[in-house]
């Protein structure tokens, strides 16, 4: 018993000594160990940030509450943060972290179960003005207040993902685009109320740098919206219109004529699409071959033009039109290795092959399925 008490005292003495060392500060430590840093808090900020960048987000947050030196370093240096691992408390966490991490450029708040509320997004908009990439997907609880706040607070947004936020309205989205003109990537998948022709017109007017837009399952989207989009966003490269059942050939023709850099197009379930659309896409390519003379000379023939096309369930299409398309765009493949021309559910298009598939077919004389 006494022995144990003695041991206890020794430990307490050790604590005390450590306290003295810490309290005495830097100079004592240096004297004891010679030249060089002995106190970790002297470490240069870049080195500390490098180490923090190797940590997972949870640990990085913990590290920012260790001491004032680390807090300052991390709050000044942390530019990327992902809080998707939170299952219950994401809202509180954002409320307390946003005022600290004001230099954030990338913030991922995708939720498994909806936790985020408007006050959190308002706090983000109030403090994180450098934000460029924001992922708010599956935030069912958010309302238009968030979009208005973002419009005022984060004008540098380049990438915004609000897929699954079903409560947003198209007015708020249009308002946002008026302020966030640098948007390059926008994901509105499932935002049925927000993605309407009105909003798309606003996007076409304001977000001229837009490169990628996902309008999946937004069945309010019509030709008017997509055409405005095409006329406004000439740099569009990826457009997903899957589930946009009201689209007709006019949309695709506008896209073909205006968006010459289009690389990926999704028309899954757009049943109104006919061969006209296919021929217009092919035709625009032929027209543009002249414009990209240099690139074709340099052998980057395959780099231009459609790389990926999804026309599944577009049952009005005929093999000749699609084959013409496939021939025009060498980057479209039906071969199993690089399959990018997806035609599921189009039973009449089984004969369409890309050039390499034909080659393989001839060489090995095997049955080749293009639709799966």
């Amino acid at each position: 018993m006494i022995g144990e008490a003695k041991v206890g005292n020794e430990d307490l003495n050790l604590c005390f000594e450590k306290l003295m060392m810490v309290a005495a500060g830097n100079s004592e430590g240096v004297k004891m160990n010679g030249v060089g840093i002995t106190e970790w808090k002297d470490i240069p900020v870049e080195l500390l940030l490098r180490i923090v960048s190797l940590l997972d987000d949870q640990t990085a947050i913990v590290a920012s509450s260790v001491c004032s030196g680390w807090r300052d370093a991390i709050c000044l240096g942390l530019t990327q943060l992902c809080l998707s691992w939170c299952r219950k408390n994401m809202n509180n966490l954002v409320l307390s972290l946003a005022p600290k991490f004001t230099r954030l450029q990338t913030l991922i708040l995708r939720q498994e179960n909806p936790q985020l509320e408007d006050n959190a997004v308002e706090t983000i908009s109030k403090f994180c003005h450098d934000l460029q990439d924001l992922d708010l997907s599956k935030s069912f609880k958010l309302s238009d207040r968030s979009l208005y706040a973002l419009a005022h607070g984060c004008p540098n947004l380049k990438k915004l993902n609000i897929s699954g936020c079903t409560s947003f309205s198209d007015e708020a989205l249009a308002y946002l685009t008026n302020f966030c003109r640098k948007l390059k990537i926008l994901n509105l998948c499932g935002c049925v109320k927000a993605a309407t022709d009105h909003a798309l017109q606003a996007i076409g007017r304001n977000c001229n740098m837009l490169q990628s837009l996902n309008l999946g399952w937004c069945d309010n989207v019509g030709d008017l919206g997509v055409m405005s989009l095409a006329y406004g966003c000439h740099d569009l490269r990826c457009l997903d219109l899957c589930g946009c059942v009201r689209i007709t050939d006019d949309s695709v023709i506008a896209l073909a004529n205006e968006c010459l850099h289009l690389r990926s197009l999704g028309l899954y379930y757009c049943r109104n699409i006919t061969d006209r659309a296919m021929y217009s896409l092919a035709h625009s390519r032929v027209k543009n071959k002249g414009l990209t003379w240099e690139s074709s000379m340099k052998g980057r023939y395959e780099d231009d033009g459609l790389k990926s096309l999804n026309i599944s369930q577009c049952t009005a299409l005929t093999p000749s039109a699609v084959q013409a398309l496939c021939d025009t765009f060498p980057a479209l493949h039906t071969c199993s290795g690089r399959h990018s021309l997806v035609m599921s559910g189009c039973l009449n298009l089984t004969s369409v092959h890309c050039a390499c598939a034909v080659q393989a077919h001839r060489t090995f004389n095997t049955i080749f399925h293009t639709a799966h």
Partner: protein, 379 residues
Amino acid sequence: MSEVDMAVIKPEMMKSYIWLQTADGSIQQVEQEVAMFCPMICHEVIQKGMGSSKNYAISLPQRVNPAMLSLILDYCRFHQVPGRSNKERKSFDEKFIRMDTKRLCELTSAADSLQLKPLVDLTSRALARIIEGKSPEEIREIFHLPDDLTEEEKLEPLKNTTDDPRIRLLNRLYAKKRKELKERQKLKNIEVEEERVDDRSVDDLLSFINGDNGDSKGIKNSKSKKKNRRRKDQQKNTSANEAIKNHNKEPNGLNQVCHSAEVGQKVRAGVGATSNLHDVKDDIFDNKNELDDGDIDDEIDPALKEKIDRYCSYELRKSSKLTVSNEVTMEVEDFARRLNSDWPERMQEILSFGHERKPVHFSLNGNGSLRRYANSEQR
């Protein structure tokens, strides 16, 4: 041969050496191919022509002391040989970074000042592995960092991966407290921070009560709070010290936690006693991160705090009488469990034994929260 001669005939006759001088003044010579592995030294030699003789030794940055220099040169000596396989290099690296954390920090800093990127990456990754999964206290302990964040800054709802309702309650409380702290910011000074560390355990207990209480009945007087804390510390120290002495130091997890906590706690002599209670709680909850930083400012009447404190020390005294370690563990677990669930009822039970000298009694409100009465008649 004189050094000058050596310098002159160096390229033809013998292995080339580079002269390096560390900040403490000592000079040494190193084989050229080894030293040139460091970009900073390489730059000095090629661009400025330094290092060819003792008089023109390259001055190394202040962060490189002789011990670190020799480590770094060992690293360079191994890796600059071109013929080694990746597997060899990897296994050397793994053995190389096996050192205590302090040296690892110094090595990282030294390697960074010499711009030796592969070594910086290696040591940074090792340090990141050390930091991962630790609580702020542990990190402070490992790296000897000052505990200089204000209470407000520490109130972070960090994580709640186990869906613990108590933690959710705590987090809600944190948010509330943060708002209140903003108002009280002017009253804060350094003295408060020093005393703060000891009382976390009791504050945690208090928070459960406070969380059930709708409104605050606390006196927002920092002075009296400080006084009470000091008094409480002394009281806790004497009783809890007894408790620790009586615990068997057999290797059960509880004691190991207490032991290491005592070593780790840095602020004040006598702190180890209070950490016992705190870490027991942490152990049971298995949520170190959530509770560690929560120094919840109590807004409860200081007298009430005294009551609770005496209750805690009563429990400790009670548990200290048992000598078998299993029973101790059970008793403490029991204690912690009772804290969580039967807190009001338990208080009643204890108080009805007449342990309290003061005529202050508690009773339950309709909603289960505690209420303090001025005299016993109102019971």
